[in-house]
Symmetry: C3
Subunit: 663 residues, 3 copies
């Protein structure tokens, strides 16, 4: 897609390109095939530090200029990556301590990626230098439409245990807790005589059965170290670069993407979901959309399969690439980029799915890529002139992600999996398009707010803002396992919840684990209700009760499992268990009805994205490779087929419909 | 329960209480709720070293006196724990080598429990000092009815590999074997040229494929180190304290509880069994009862579920707490104590089941705890005035536990699991109450002795005593996998058994592994017999044969699997395989009939504990949450219901009956 | 078996014997039982270094002479082992660095086997010395019929990471690649900025996500280190010894047995297969036969089960020992030896199956051993006067084994398992006796060659020789996953195959992973065809196509999965997937028909070994314990039964037939 000046315009269809790993003479062929495929943007540069700086302080960018220029001449825009994920061997030789260490003090070897510690000053120094050199060289290059800092930076496993990381951890604790006694008391360290006399005595979370508060703070600090490292690069780039700067992230291990993108201009995001969990990407897109004004970029996804030296996946059903390529665009992004343009011929990842095989031959998916390019072209104006519009919100926060990772209340409860399967999927399958929001997000635009698994609400004043929003008329669906810990991960000592009882007047009695079917619940209308893993029991009047316990223990049979309390002009529905898919859809319907939010127009697995702007419409995505349908509220035109539609619109498996309201 | 002087009397209902982890003002509330629940004993102090000795040599017991006094004033007795399981951070700072090390030399961090090595001299010195200070302070306190040394002390995993442990290992070997050549020959160390030239050359069992004899001795010594550490504390306490001193143990990893309790006055025992394996606690109670004259204390068990930061269990069926709380009392103990009174509000174990939730609200199980307190009160005199009476014994020894852990003969054979499931359960389900005895126990009181999985009988002269006991008329059910190793874990070289052939005249031919059903056996009456994992084949005459092989290999079809030999006035039944549950019950019945021991009055899973003393009776426990029954031999009164019973007494699921013989 | 001079003659029936681990007085009994069992050869010495050299440089062979002499006097021949697998403790004391190290630098402890590093100079020095001493002592001993160097020497796991190994790795790389830039380019090390500036900078494959080329070279060098160590011993022995010298190997971890046996006179081989995978031994025998002129020795196999301190197996079906003992003889060997003669009474492996139990009593298998001895005796002349004769070959190479271990293309693809199950078994069940050949083997004798999973053909000029052989009329069945990597494990950049397209003119389009059944294939006659894990798609004309795709993706439905191309006088059949058992048999039949090779005379699991020489015949082995049959082409005499047979010969489960053509 290009504008009238010949500049590439969104929505972008891109691919990661590593010409430095190939003979120079391959470039013309590759570019000709990119044109044929409909690729408009190439992501380059991210792992080529050694080629840019073959010896310390000696830079060579001529080869890279040539690549950028050749792409530009061919009308292909460039996203330029800083190569800090792959420091050259000479850096490790100069400073052997620059690498990450595991808990046993074993150092990571050169030979992979991200082997240097983000807190290491020498690594930071050399990273800053190469970034500044690149920025000077390419800051004004018109072919470059955006920058990418580093690559998929996050704390792997438990992170790095090097002395710099331990020091940073201690400094963070001192900054947060002020005095060591405050920390000791906050973490209840009389318990087990753990009491520390100084911040620097606090160990990293290894080689002992550590308390969950220490483990939580460690995770938070490990992620912050990477945020700091990215911010350092952003500050350098911003001095030279005038196009958006981002960092391509991966949804792993509790990274806080609001923090990560604070100093950046754009959210860049990589995902490698597969048919079974494709909808989990939608949760991320619904979240990323809320972080920046600028539409996000899906910087990496696979055309067909993942693999380094071995493929563990099967061929994806035909049409999957269409849905996978459209989802980020439909949900508020402006780019979809494949990893990788052409499979590496040697080294790592030499069997990864791509657009071209390492032989240069098109992969079987090539035609599907062309179709995506065509469909983008047909709808580009509509995409650019509209934004996603929604009335409901759905909570997700990194603090709670990390808190569940360090204390999951019931075992085998994965925060992300449960959030996706038990809560998010029923919401989107109800025909809703939620904003997925974190604690910082303003609530005023929403009529319904879902807050499951928000173990703590003590984050960025959220508690106060929710209180006001409910008083003003919001419908808040909260729980299970929400508001049960303070910001350190400690329990409340006189009430089970931080403020839910005070807000609603409800009274919690018991929390009950069960995965053997000993507990049973019933809706007021007599329908059986099946929860999972955890049950909160409330002592509540029948008029405020939606579902009661029918089996479990005589101490709580007849008591309430789901309650609904009027608060000011609003309503609070407390869900006392992890509901089944159907029961969660029932809760969604009840809460939307209360709030006057339209729902239930989807049949099957049809995801809807309402679009508003200078034009109006909606995008439908059948995401389960099965027939689906959507009940249109008015006559619309399908911009992909040209057909006019109204009433019940049937969608074929993996069909996309881009629908514009007729005037 | 209190006596006429207002002193708390057994049976005790107790709970672990950590007031040092809570604001002082919570204590009155907690105590009022203890009174309401019927709790008569609080276990305190065990993890509070830092609070008692905030700096090296500076002690503060004022706060602890206040707690003891407040409890005492409320009529709640105290069990005082020494806090040596949780040394303060300053000890590790002063002596960084005081902590345990893994096989790679990695040191355990501060932050959990039991991180210091029981063999470390500095740790021992500071432990002795805090224990002596506590003993001086509280030795005469009338509220304290017992002391507990440390907490759940045992060798975790392979134990500690620090230099002190390695030295202790070498000293133990020298003491046991005398000369290095004796060790080399005993362990057959010409094999693989392993021959050592000095004791100090012998490695810890890591980083090589080690022989089983070395591994066995290491396990034994690791446990002994903890026994020594406890003994050191006991000697200090005994100088100041006049109530029983014990240590609360966990049934893990081959610890020898006879050794452990030798220097102590009382057996204290923690267990966290669940419905499916509750009967395994009974084996322990049947064993612990034999170790000391004083009735044992069940110092820890859960009211409802375990959990540190995550609960892996489900709500237990109603009534489980009754059975779990009654079992130690019925089987010869005088205390049942819950862990924990009130769930921690932060730190470790903040989701563990308790009596009060961390909010202070009663857990759903609160009423069940009250019921237990009531039932203890109704029967307290009967419990105190009677002892468990039995005619049968069942072997269990720590040496064999450790030997199976280091050479299990057939893979996936867990000594404890097989002992419980394949042998102990059929015995107790036959309506027998066995003493579970180790090698040291006198045999003269028993008519039947079961010795399965007694890999070695070379322990404390057991062989000689069994020989005499059988000659005098005992019925000995022995095997499988018994008497097949000497005390070092070596095989015999000319006979398969150490003395079974010599004792009985039987002749062993083959030992056959099978878990694919290739081997089949038949009782003499033609019933099929199904063994498991291992089969011994005997060349035995039909008149001494109870079961023969019908499938497997022509070398042994028609040969004998279970044989019965008259020896002196007694009988030896050698069981050549791990029998099924039903076949083991058949063996139990045969042997009891031979010995004139009454059996078979139970139906279902009803455990019986005959009680004799100044009054007589029995206690029945339905332990499987299913209907059961027991055929009474005479008219009795159920002290819990007041009803008079005779003949077939039906028990409801999880019912307890405390029955006294009518005069 | 003895010749007319009283010397023991092949086929040998032997057992490993460790008299040094037993009292001297046991030897007479053991030898009398060997005679009874029919054992003609004892393997001794292999682990007795400490007894031979109790102190550094002090040798004692008197005891060993006595053993050899006593065996010799009893008419039992000896295979003498060098004891270098078990260095004495004093060596580790003198040189603590002599032991292997893991990736974390943790040293292996004394206490097992093979704990010293084959690259360590001190270990080599002392090994050379003990071997030379032994050679001098026993080089002319007439009782000794062969020597065995060390025992089961191979790289365990990832091998040794000690400094000597790292240095050897760097030297190997320098020798192979010449310059570091050549290595950097060959491994595509611009990728991830991995570029090395010197060979000594290259890390061992640990503590990073390493590239597959580095991992491949490490594996190759680790194995070469052991080959060098064995060669060093062979050179010493050859100066003194006049009987065949070998080393008893285990089929593990990519060892190259051609390299290993290059400096040796004979192939010695240990295996411990069980009924389910017994045929996998046949692949090894078919391979080992091709390495040396001298018939190989099966130096170790179990009579009944394996076990060190625990047995994980079940009793084997009766007759299994017959088949297991006959297979090496039938397939070209001249010895079958059991491990172990008499189970160790202590130390390691004290529950291993044997001929005598540690008690000295015969195991249940004793009669089966006697039967084997009898059957060898009846057929010995025929065995000695004939050799295995075959017209087909089947590729297996260590380079490809190692390459699949470092990059398996699709996950969970084990080279050896897939080779055995999906390719080798259908070949032998088609009544063929293949030579299993590596890349060095001359092809001219064969009419059909199977080359599945030959990831690289760039080995020892194989590509050129295959090209010529096909031109000359050979029928080559190649693929899947063959010819897709160069010798470094890199992909080709312009064609998928190294030379298959050039050779045949075929055109590869796509490679597709699938394990969910999304891809389907059909034979030309309409039969459904089921492949596994991987599918190659060819753009091929119908006349050259044997099977086409019917499901998967519209990009390749109707394209070809198996193609057949005429090349010169020969034919190339490219198999694009891992076929099912039945489909592979179909491919075998088609290719044999094309080549005029007889096939299909077997029914069930009857393995055939045609024998040619001064007499002619064949040996049949029913190897699945089920009825089978073979269609004889002429009248023959069964040397085991004396019966004359013709036409369809039925074999009972586990029956052996040694058939000689009647004149």
């Amino acid at each position: 897609m290009k504008d009238k000046n010949g500049n590439v315009q969104p929505p972008y269809l891109g691919a990661a390109y590593y010409p430095e790993d190939w003979p120079e003479e391959e470039m013309d062929y590759d570019i000709s095939m990119m044109k044929k495929a409909g690729i408009t943007v190439a992501r380059i540069g991210e792992f080529a530090w050694h080629k840019m700086e073959p010896e310390p302080g000696t830079y060579d960018f001529a080869w890279l200029h040539k690549i950028v220029d050749t792409l530009g001449e061919a009308g292909i825009a460039v996203v330029m990556g800083t190569p800090t994920a792959t420091p050259p061997r000479w850096l490790i030789k100069l400073y052997p301590d620059v690498v990450t260490q595991n808990a046993d003090g074993v150092k990571t070897n050169h030979g992979g990626r991200r082997h240097c510690c983000s807190n290491n000053p020498e690594y930071r120094k050399y990273s800053a230098a190469i970034v500044e050199q690149m920025a000077k060289e390419f800051g004004d290059d018109p072919t470059i439409i955006g920058w990418q800092i580093d690559n998929e930076i996050y704390a792997s496993g438990d992170g790095c245990f090097c002395p710099h990381c331990q020091k940073a951890f201690h400094e963070k604790l001192e900054q947060k807790y002020g005095t060591i006694d405050h920390l000791n008391r906050s973490w209840n360290l009389n318990l087990f005589s753990q009491w520390y006399d100084a911040f620097e005595e606090i160990p990293a979370p290894c080689h002992a059965w550590h308390n969950p508060h220490l483990m939580l703070e460690w995770r938070i600090k490990q992620n912050e170290s990477h945020v700091d490292f990215v911010r350092m690069q952003a500050e350098i780039l911003h001095a030279y670069v005038h196009v958006p700067v981002g960092t391509d992230t991966m949804p792993f291990n509790g990274m806080d993407y609001r923090d990560m993108t604070e100093a950046l201009d754009i959210v860049q995001f990589n995902h490698y979901n597969v048919p079974d969990n494709l909808y989990c990407s939608a949760l991320w897109f619904d979240y990323l959309r809320t972080l920046k004004e600028h539409p996000f970029w899906n910087t990496e996804t696979a055309t067909c399969w993942n693999g380094s030296t071995a493929i563990g996946q099967s061929i994806k059903p035909e049409g999957y690439n269409r849905v996978n390529s459209w989802m980020p665009i439909a949900l508020g992004g402006e780019a979809n980029m494949y990893w990788i343009w052409r499979t590496h011929w040697a080294g790592h990842e030499l069997v990864h799915g791509s657009v071209l095989d390492s032989t240069g031959r098109p992969m079987h998916i090539f035609g599907e890529v062309q179709d995506v390019a065509d469909s983008y072209a047909k709808t580009a104006d509509f995409i650019r002139e509209t934004r996603v519009a929604t009335e409901v919100a759905f909570h997700f926060t990194s603090l709670n992600w990390n808190m569940f990772s360090t204390q999951s209340v019931v075992s085998d409860l994965s925060y992300m999996d449960t959030l996706n399967q038990s809560f998010y999927k029923p919401v989107i399958d109800s025909g809703l398009r939620p904003d997925v929001i974190d604690a910082a997000q303003d609530l005023s635009a929403y009529k319904v707010l879902f807050s499951p698994l928000m173990m703590t609400l003590e984050e960025k004043g959220l508690e106060t803002r929710i209180r006001q929003w409910v008083q003003d008329g919001g419908v808040w669906v909260v729980g299970p396992l929400s508001d049960i810990r303070n910001s350190y991960g400690a329990r409340y000592t006189h009430e089970y919840f931080g403020f839910l009882e005070k807000l609603t007047g409800a009274r919690w009695m018991y929390g009950i684990p069960d995965r053997e079917g000993r507990v049973a619940v019933q809706w007021n209308d007599g329908d059986a209700f099946h929860g999972d893993k955890w049950y909160d029991v409330f002592d509540e009047s029948p008029e405020n009760t939606l579902a009661v316990y029918t089996e479990g223990h005589s101490a709580f049979i007849g008591k309430s499992a789901i309650i609904s309390r009027t608060v000011g002009k609003g309503r609070v529905i407390i869900v006392g268990t992890i509901p089944s898919y159907d029961d969660m859809k029932r809760i969604v319907a009840m809460s939307c009805d209360l709030a006057g939010v339209e729902h239930g127009r989807s049949e099957g697995s049809v995801m809807v994205s309402p679009r508003r702007g200078s034009r109006n419409g909606l995008i439908l995505i059948e995401y389960a490779n099965a027939p689906g349908a959507y009940e249109l509220s008015r006559e619309m035109k399908n911009l992909l087929t040209g057909a006019t539609c109204s009433g019940r619109l049937e969608l074929a498996p993996y069909e996309i419909a881009v629908l514009e309201e007729l005037p």
